[in-house]
């Protein structure tokens, strides 16, 4: 039987007086590669923040790895990669190696030294994203796509079971986006890392994902990618209130 990684039960959330999420219920199983789709302002980022524990739901329950999110302590099991644009200031004096090493901080814990095999872990994480030859370079000197790979390596170094990516390809050249998704698909298959990906690149990502969830305040669809393909365009437009591109 597959393990449930995330389970949301009737989760609602509002900022001040604006309802952002309403009665969200869904489940993510181990090994899923879920694309979370939805128009701007549909609550995608809020949903990710709830899962990451950065926000608390107004009502409903979130379970991570079978434990209530409020009591979930093993945050290092969840890797997070945000949009590049707001992640860091590019003049920061840090090498690629130092950035990846910082991914071990939480796993190691306060007052403890980083593990002895950290160098090997760092280089194997960099290898997994194809960035091993850049270890000594300054992070600010890399291209957007390369930086985003480094951030994936930073998440991988803690050996996460779940990787959450919030529009990771914003600001990356189109030709590099393909290679980036190939790399994610490989991590999903080879290391069995469960993935949740918020994206607008529906066309590019379509042949790599296993599941789709459509969000606009509430979940309109959640299921296998093939079932999603069978949904009519009119239905999609009705959920979102305007025309959206469908995955082909």
């Amino acid at each position: 039987m597959t393990k449930t990684i995330i389970e949301l039960k009737n989760v609602s959330f509002q900022y001040d007086y604006t309802q952002v999420l309403k009665n969200i219920s869904f489940r993510v199983e181990e090994g899923d590669f879920l694309a979370l789709l939805g128009p701007n302002g549909s609550g995608k980022s809020t949903l990710l923040k709830l899962i990451l524990g950065l926000l608390k739901p107004m009502s409903g329950e979130i379970e991570l790895f079978g434990k209530s999110a409020g009591n979930f302590k093993n945050r290092e099991m969840i890797g997070y990669v945000s949009q590049k644009s707001n992640a860091f200031n590019s003049g920061f004096p840090a090498t690629v190696q130092e950035v990846v090493k910082s991914g071990l901080t939480k796993k190691t814990g306060l007052l403890k030294r980083l593990p002895k095999d950290r160098e090997e872990r760092i280089s194997s994480a960099l290898k997994a994203v194809g960035m091993e030859q850049f270890a000594k370079r300054n992070i600010g000197q890399l291209s957007g796509g390369q930086q985003q790979r480094v951030f994936i390596a930073r998440a991988l170094v803690a050996e996460p079971k779940l990787l959450i990516l919030d529009e990771p390809t914003v600001g990356i050249d189109h030709e590099n986006v393909q290679a980036f998704y190939d790399m994610l698909a490989k991590l999903n298959e080879e290391q069995n890392i469960t993935m949740i990906l918020v994206t607008h690149d529906v066309d590019t990502v379509s042949n790599r994902i296993s599941h789709v969830a459509c969000l606009n305040q509430t979940i309109h669809f959640h299921g296998y990618k093939n079932d999603f393909d069978a949904i009519s365009q009119d239905e999609l437009d009705a959920w979102y209130g305007h025309a959206v591109r469908k995955i082909h």
Partner: protein, 283 residues
């Protein structure tokens, strides 16, 4: 100067205190600069002045407090100010920098009131504003050394957490680090270092010792550890050259230290520029 250093206790106090500050101020300065908190150091130094002026006024007014070392009230004011800044930054979430002018003018305003209440501590006050080679006491040195120990303990516990927090705050929070507490502790340690440094460089110039060596280091460093190493080297150079020239030329050390670090910064900027041009031509 070496001979004078052997003979005069005041000079020993100034030189050894200066050398400690030349390490701890730029060391914390690296975190301050990369977290874009440079101006907060300035605001805190002005609050420290309020504590110093208040203490000088108290010693003048109440004979029982005549021997009170102003550094203590300076520390209290600085640490109190750092917590107030944090409160204000949270209150004005979208205009965090507003906390700086509020605290800065508040500190200066209170200082002005104490200074005018007690007329007559002009020379003393000058040494606090711009630093002094002769005014550093054994007690000051002991306080500065104690603060340095606190800095090293703090950094040996929180170095990796502070790095994550400085590099990417959102990621730090998402991975479950107690960001708020680490930040608060960091601000308190910064306040302590500001209070410690003002004896040598003076209140008005404290923040320069935390930022100028770092500004120079960031032109050269590829990584974070390198940035720290260069910052400390430049900070230490500035303090030593500044103190020696202050001693021989009979100038306020705050001035000579800051001017030295600006000269270092300019040399580094120029050298880097020349190097880049040269290597571009070479290719």
């Amino acid at each position: 100067m070496i001979e004078a250093l052997m003979n005069y206790e005041f000079l020993q106090n100034a030189v050894f205190s200066g050398m400690i500050i030349g390490i701890i101020a730029p060391l914390l300065g690296v975190f301050i600069v990369v977290r874009r908190l440079s101006l907060i150091a300035d605001a805190l130094s002005h609050v420290t002045l309020a504590g110093i002026a208040g203490s000088l006024y108290l010693s003048q007014t109440f004979s029982a407090l005549a021997l009170l070392n102003p550094i203590y009230l300076g520390i209290v004011a600085s640490v109190g100010g750092s917590m107030l800044i944090e409160r204000l930054r949270r209150l004005y979430k979208h205009y965090e920098e507003l906390a700086i002018p509020i605290i800065m003018s508040g500190g200066l305003g209170i200082s002005a009131i104490f200074i005018s209440l007690a007329s007559g501590f002009n020379t003393d006050l000058m040494s606090y504003l711009f630093g002094s080679v002769s005014a550093v006491s054994r007690q000051d040195f002991a306080v500065i050394a104690a603060i340095a120990i606190i800095v090293f303990i703090f950094l040996s516990i929180f170095f990796k957490e502070l790095f994550v927090l400085s590099f990417d705050e959102e990621y730090a929070k998402a991975s479950g680090l107690p960001a708020k507490w680490i930040h608060l502790l960091f601000m308190i340690v910064v306040a302590l270092v500001i209070a410690a440094s003002m004896r040598i460089v003076g209140i008005l110039l404290v923040s320069s010792l935390m930022t100028l060596p770092v500004a120079a280091a960031m032109r050269l460093a590829r990584g974070f550890k390198e940035a720290i190493l260069y910052s400390i080297i430049f900070g230490e150079l500035s303090v030593v050259i500044g103190l020696v020239s202050a001693f021989y030329l009979n100038l306020a050390p705050g001035g000579t230290i800051v001017v030295t670090s600006i000269v270092i910064l300019l040399i580094v900027i120029l050298a880097k520029k020349l190097f880049v041009q040269f290597s571009a031509k070479g290719v």
